[in-house]
């Protein structure tokens, strides 16, 4: 890999050259955008609707399909079987998920499990909901899906689930990951750093209050009691003892003033 380009241009193979179009000798070199030394196929499977497959951009040279800039190699679709055609080498299904035109899905019978698989696949009938997983193919401008797996839907909830998955993945990929609200962790941990300190309930509230105080001498316990009206002072002292022993806070000028060890 390094050897050829080194001998070709006698520069040790470190510098980008025209004779090295695949960038095999230039890994780690800046200024070589778009050249991938790694030629492995992408293995991502995207939950999609048939309309998305029809609308996806197809890069002929690399046989890549992209939606919104994200490329995928396999798809997962949930739809109704409109038609079934069986022959010796494959079964062709026509799948409809109401999003647009129907799509042809081919299931090849020469796979390792072709023999037994066939008995199972023959149970897929018209007007039955199925899930199809597999790559997309284009032939003479007609798109189709090869079914690596085609399974009958056993629970109607799969349809709701697929719709949500499609929408979610589509939004995440086109708009980027939104910052998850910290509340998703099960207990509100609205620490400004978004870090879940693992504290719950009163301990967390006290820690938060003390953390919000930026004074050198820290927060007086009186201040904490005022903020957490309705909580007896004894409980607050307990929380403070716990937090202090865990190392979240420390006492400053006296036993009534505490400061947080976290953050700035």
């Amino acid at each position: 890999m390094w050897g050829e380009s080194a001998f070709e241009n006698m520069q040790g193979g470190f510098l980008p050259t025209n004779s090295d179009p695949f960038g095999a000798g230039t890994q780690g070199q800046p200024g070589q955008p778009g050249q991938q030394a790694n030629r492995t196929k992408m293995q991502n499977m995207m939950p999609v609707t048939l309309a998305m497959i029809h609308k996806a951009e197809h890069l002929e040279s690399e046989n890549k399909f992209t939606i919104g800039g994200i490329s995928f190699s396999q798809v997962s679709v949930v739809g109704i079987v409109r038609n079934v055609e069986v022959n010796n080498i494959n079964i062709t299904y026509e799948i409809d998920d109401y999003s647009g035109p129907t799509m042809e899905v081919k299931y090849w019978l020469d796979g390792p499990d072709g023999g037994e698989g066939m008995a199972q696949e023959q149970q897929i009938a018209r007007n039955q909901y199925v899930r199809v997983c597999g790559p997309v193919r284009v032939f003479q401008a007609k798109r189709s899906v090869i079914a690596f797996r085609i399974l009958p839907v056993e629970d109607m909830n799969e349809i709701s689930r697929h719709m949500l998955e499609v929408k979610f993945v589509h939004l995440v990929l086109t708009k980027g990951e939104k910052k998850q609200p910290a509340a998703l962790g099960g207990a509100p941990s609205s620490n400004s750093a978004g870090f879940d300190s693992g504290l719950r309930g009163l301990n967390q509230q006290v820690a938060q209050l003390i953390g919000s105080c930026r004074e050198d001498i820290g927060m007086h316990i009186r201040g904490i009691c005022d903020q957490l009206k309705g909580v007896p002072e004894a409980k607050i002292r307990q929380a403070i003892d716990f937090l202090s022993s865990e190392g979240h806070i420390y006492s400053t000028i006296d036993d009534d003033h505490y400061r947080s060890t976290d953050g700035a």
């Binding site: 309309a51 998305m52 029809h54 998920d97 999003s99 647009g100 007007n127 109607m156 949500l164």
Partner: protein
């Protein structure tokens, strides 16, 4: 490209008057002549479904209807699929309802009528 049928629930019917829609619901009543039936949707609305040809089979349980909506409470049915009761035993209509609402918000995931 042929447009698809947008999945709707009872309340969304109003937004799609005249358009191609897909409605999932439970068969509530069938007209005596068999040329229409009433569907109860996942958001508990009753939609009237008019058929092109009278029914020749008994309809009950969950059914998926595709067709054109004429107004907020009626669909002219192009075709329907009677859902196998075996797969609807644990069906959660609320989740489906929410999924439909989210899905129909913009049409990036399906092909809509050009108008």
């Amino acid at each position: 490209m042929d447009s698809g049928y947008t999945r709707v629930n009872g309340s969304l019917m109003g937004n799609f008057a005249g358009k191609k829609v897909c409605l999932l619901g439970k068969v509530k009543t069938v007209s005596p002549k068999g040329d229409s039936f009433v569907l109860n949707t996942t958001d508990n609305m009753n939609i009237n479904v008019r058929l092109n040809s009278p029914l020749d089979t008994m309809l009950e349980g969950y059914i998926e209807v595709v067709g054109h909506s004429t107004n907020r409470t009626e669909i002219i049915c192009d075709s329907y699929v009677l859902i196998d009761p075996a797969i609807t035993t644990a069906f959660d209509p609320k989740t489906y309802n929410k999924a439909v609402e989210l899905f129909s918000k913009n049409n990036s995931c399906y092909i809509q009528d050009a108008n």
